[in-house]
Subunit: 483 residues, 2 copies
């Protein structure tokens, strides 16, 4: 399982960004109890009009192939056509994925992938091991943190992006990856033979705060998330947890039955978890089969909490008396399913097949769920990076200066204003910052100063004491415990 | 023919923006002398692989129709598919148009449309006649400038956009439009019965400047443009023209044979006009059948001069000794053709079928043609409009302030700086401007001040003396005449 999850999260996100925000059933295209949906009202008129429409597409394909000035790759045209068809729906959650993206998507849903199990990051153009995942083939083979990975099976990583390198390291279960490694202290490179295996992606992180307040962060609702959640929850309860914060900030969603299983823990028997409405407006409710907790629960949300996260938040708010804290959620009130084998070549069609509503019948699509207690993060949590190729001085202006002002303020230097105008106050703050950070004191925002400001900012963001939302949630639960 | 062409141009552009930048043969899909292009190298392998690819698209279509949560309009999916297929080519000049857009496209190419012949604009939510086109049904029926058009055939224009209203006024040749009109001075509304007819779009504007310098502006290369150009050119020559400026700034292109016919006038017999290279890399040159002028010629270009404009500029520069003045051109070195009847429903496929090169064999695609004499317009020709819902005062900053500073400067008020910071200099300039324009002197950039600044700017832009590029071109031709 991943430890240094920030980096792991980054890598995973970077690879799967196109498939985020889903709420899906895996590997099946029948919708539980909604059989008629798949036959559908169009079943009757898909005859001659479809034929002439398909003929039109075929004619266009032929005209392009025969006449376009360059040679064309037919599969590119076909993928473009299906892509365009999905776009025409005007639904960002219905989409087409080629075989490669489809594979990544299913790994995300499954919550696991096959590889060697080394968490890596890119540092100065090198692929560097952050840490081998516990119990993984990489750890067993002897890969250590800070190892620089040079090549796999003879293919050098030089000049590759992190994603490109990662996709070379990965491979089917049981295959061998010969990894060449540069380790500090040894002049020669080392070679490790590692057999790839299933590696679980961690989606649940639990910890106990003071006064018996448990915190469980859920980063995604993958196939194995409910099981992992239950395990961590049980462990916290055994340690005498008196109240719980469930953190689903920036959690883009996942699998519907998984979130239902998790909500079940908190919603008392017979109360509603979620309503699903099919295309014929027929609603079907899922009621809790038993659960409910005696301790107070808060759900921490932000505008990145989408889909399954919103089901959890809605169910716990309306049926389990939980308090929602943070920001309004994303607002995605639809359910998708995936069609894979129908297309025959590993590609995948993700189609919105239903709406979901909260137990009280609210459709939160494009609205989100408002928190009971609104708490925002400090402004510097969302500051844009500074363009380090430019320098700025007194009496200039721009968005980079605005970012610098927010960063100065975050680190305790008062820039006088935060609107992007480089006034005397900003110049003095830059000078003080430069002095404290052993930089040349010029009062000018140059590359080195910008880099130091960003490093300083990252420290502030990583400092738990600045996570207003989490701290407020813990405080609220603590109050509830005491009362 | 249109008189107040600025507005007319705006209306036409607004309606045809998606079909701009073409270089085409109308109504035919065989490429002159390039028959093999249309059979093409893909003719052999369009068998079984195409069938399975088409089957994949059909499967996707069926899956979406049967399962999507909302009812879907099948023609929307089909149009989306063909659209997506064209996008997959990665060529912005190959595109699919539905029947309505295809109709507008062919009107643009033909250089005419059917309607009543009233040039209209939108003023305070009203559709107002700028002027009836000379000899048009609207003029004959008695429509006057400033008339407010209220409805056509009982359909009110209330709440419609200009384009929506225009498309209601237009209609097939011979049909009747009953237009209800509000005329200032009469309380009741008037009704005119107007029979729609063919209306020619003007694309050629000629005038004689001092010292025998003729200027011909060409706004597009439509089917009737060469004929109109020849007529205007002959008229100028008869008036004793001693030198010519051809202005193709912001001319997006048009029909290939038309620009060849126009270039022919200036390129001496046997010299090259353009080379066309088909997908098999076979080049075919078009040589002038006779022409050439004894007087000096300059071609005025900017980055909006595309396609056929660039053919004209390249041919006249390389084969007719003309001087190019202004900015580098757009850089579109490809030829498209339109397929209409193949799709069977009035929709159209525009496909890039060839490259074109200058007589010397230069492919200017994505590069453009550099002028012999670079001349730029004043900065205020390209200033962004001010967001009039906001107000700004001393010691604030933003892009709106930057625009205001450029506008102040254009009207002769020195704002001190033009970087978007509202300093003392800008405040003083705003005060002076307000005083001169009978506005309350506050030094604050408010809605009224912004509106007055923009009106003042438009006057500057419309003032011929500020058209640096045109003035320089006329000056150069004058020098050439004198020497």
């Amino acid at each position: 399982m991943f430890k240094g999850r920030t980096v792991a999260f980054f890598v995973v996100i970077a690879m799967l960004v196109s498939s985020l925000l889903t709420l899906t059933f895996t590997g099946q295209w029948s919708f539980a109890g909604a059989g008629p949906v798949t036959s559908g009202i169009f079943a009757d008129n898909s005859g001659s009009s479809t034929k002439s429409d398909i003929k039109k597409i075929e004619t266009a394909l032929e005209l392009v192939k025969k006449n376009y000035v360059e040679d064309v790759d037919q599969s590119k045209l076909v993928n473009g056509a299906i892509d365009g068809m999905m776009h025409a729906l005007g639904d960002p959650f219905s989409s087409y994925m080629g075989p490669e993206t489809a594979q990544q998507f299913s790994e995300q849903i499954e919550g696991s992938f096959t590889g060697i199990g080394a968490e890596v990051s890119m540092e100065n153009g090198n692929v560097v091991v952050v840490s081998p995942i516990k119990g993984s083939p990489a750890e067993k083979a002897g890969i250590k943190p800070k190892d620089i990975l040079l090549s796999v099976n003879g293919e050098s990583f030089e000049g590759l992006s992190l994603n490109e390198a990662v996709s070379k390291i990965r491979g089917p279960k049981g295959t061998e990856a010969k990894v060449k490694v540069k380790r500090s202290g040894s002049a020669a490179s080392l070679e490790f033979k590692i057999v790839r295996a299933d590696i679980a992606l961690e989606t649940v992180y639990a910890r106990m705060e003071q006064d018996g307040v448990g915190v469980i962060e859920v980063t995604e609702f993958s196939m194995n998330t409910a099981e992992r959640f239950q395990k961590e929850l049980a462990a916290l309860e055994q340690k005498g947890m008196k109240g719980l914060v469930i953190d689903v900030r920036n959690n883009p969603g996942g699998v519907l039955p998984v979130v239902i299983e998790m909500a079940q823990q908190f919603v008392p028997k017979g109360k509603g978890i979620v309503l699903v409405e099919d295309k014929n407006k027929r609603r079907e409710g899922t009621l809790s089969k038993g659960g409910g907790k005696s301790y107070p629960v808060a759900v921490l949300t932000n505008k990145g909490s989408a889909s399954a996260s919103e089901i959890l938040a809605g169910a716990l708010q309306e049926s389990a008396g939980a308090k929602l804290i943070g920001e309004a959620t994303y607002g995605k009130g639809t359910v998708q399913t995936s069609f894979t084998h129908e297309l025959g070549d590993g590609s995948l069609l993700k189609v919105t097949i239903a709406k979901w509503l909260t137990p009280n019948g609210e459709w939160i699509h494009k609205k989100g769920i408002k928190p009971d207690l609104a708490v925002s993060q400090p402004d510097y949590f969302s500051v844009a990076p500074i363009n380090k190729e430019k320098t700025y001085k007194y009496d200039t202006l721009g968005d980079d200066i605005k970012s610098a002002q927010i960063m100065l303020s975050a680190s305790g230097y008062d820039p006088g204003r935060k609107d992007g105008y480089f006034g005397k106050g900003t110049e003095n703050a830059v000078k003080k910052f430069q002095d404290d950070n052993k930089l040349e004191v010029t009062g000018v925002l140059d590359t080195k100063t910008a880099e130091a400001l960003e490093s300083s900012l990252i420290k502030q963001i990583q400092d738990k004491k600045n996570d207003n939302q989490m701290n407020r949630a813990i405080e609220e639960i603590r109050k509830d415990i005491a009362s």
